[in-house]
Amino acid sequence: MRKLFRDGSHLLRVAALFAAGIAAFFVLRGILVPSDFGRYGHYRAGALADNAKRAVHFGGKTACLDCHSDVADAQKGSRHANVRCEACHGPLAKHADDPGVQPAKLAPERLCLTCHRAIVGRPAKFPQIDPEEHAGGVECTSCHRPHHPEQEGKS
């Protein structure tokens, strides 16, 4: 035991190295780990804000109807009353923010038949048609109003 202490300088060197290593770990950790890591759990709290700050592309039906109340009236009592505008009209947040930005043109292939072409698998009670048989190729809008399909006429 005594001998160990007499020749103990090598132990001191090891201890010093250890202490320096631990100190370096904490300094590096302080620099590398953001201060908000662990505020709510094992993650960086700022990631919540990062996820929340992406750009919005679909403005939402409320934004549309703020200006287009006539469409809200036209939809009343229709089976399309709960279909939200951008489902057919496409993403319009930019137009909702600034009415000067022209809405994109409607994509014809994404209109009526997207939902109403008869396909095996669609729920039986959902209205579906075979366009050839139903109208012989005549455009849907020559008979139906998209905002209120039960009524005849345009728009």
């Binding site: 990062d50 679909f58 669609r122």
Partner: protein, 254 residues
């Protein structure tokens, strides 16, 4: 009378604060301003999804909306949400034919004949925002986590792209973004729900097959829906605490 400097500043400070507050109140009243709406408090919410298979028509609106809203690569391997078509022949529940051409992005071709005795239906899928998610458990760096409002999020700046979570998710909900080499998946449109908007897929589903609900809000219609329908989660045996509730799910769906 001598005034101690310290006491003077303390008193003056108090008067200044009171005056400023009064001015603010008067200003608010004069402007007729309504107080700012309370900022989004994550801990007040606990988000869940309801997917009603009986209403899904396989139109693919949700898939297209999701890619447009979240800047998801357009190639066929990358989806935050997608729609599958199940074709179950007679009693053979264990071997359904499942197809999902381009995830349903372009809708579904009429592939199956009418009246062949099979049952065909559409199943929209997305991250289930599991409360005990395997993906969170395996992430070595804390880049994927459950938020205080119950959304499983990815911290893009922390993700190493190690793919552990891609392997761990029993539902195949995650992919590696080829542009950033970090993981990506549905975040329930966190940038929308924190602003009071609906997720893009819910906003654009024409049949109301997709609904989002706040389980911590007793007035949310989701409570009535869960009470009145026989809902199920995917792979309940995995006990992931899935918060995507399906109405009309049957045993053939994996």
């Amino acid at each position: 009378m001598t005034v101690d400097r310290r006491a003077f500043f303390a008193t003056a400070g108090k008067y200044l604060i009171v005056t400023a507050a009064t001015a603010k109140v008067i200003e608010t009243f004069l402007a007729g301003a309504t107080p700012e709406p309370a900022a989004y408090a994550a801990a007040d919410h606990w988000w869940a999804m309801v997917l009603d298979i009986e209403k899904c028509i396989g139109c693919g609106n949700c898939v297209r909306a999701c890619k447009a809203e979240n800047d998801v690569p357009l190639e066929a391997e990358y989806f935050r949400t997608w729609v599958e078509r199940y074709h179950v022949r007679g009693e053979d529940m264990e071997h359904p034919d499942v197809d999902s051409p381009n995830g349903g992005y372009d809708g579904f071709p009429d592939k199956y004949p009418k009246g062949d005795g099979a049952r065909t239906f559409f199943v929209p899928k997305l991250c289930n925002h599991c409360a005990h998610s395997p993906c969170v458990q395996v992430c070595p760096v804390g880049a994927t986590f459950v938020s205080p409002d119950g959304v499983v999020l990815v911290d893009k700046s922390y993700c190493l792209g190690c793919r552990y979570c891609v392997q761990a998710c029993p539902y195949g909900c995650r992919f590696i973004d080829p542009r950033t080499h970090t993981v990506d998946k549905c975040n329930l449109c966190y940038h929308r729900i924190t602003k009071g908007l609906l997720p893009a897929c819910v906003e654009n589903c024409p049949t109301g097959s997709r609904m989002i609900g706040d389980l911590r809000n007793p007035n949310d219609p989701i409570h009535a829906f869960l009470r009145e329908h026989k809902v199920q989660v995917l792979k309940p045996q995995m006990a992931t605490g899935s918060k995507a509730f399906y109405n009309g799910l049957d045993g053939s769906v994996r």
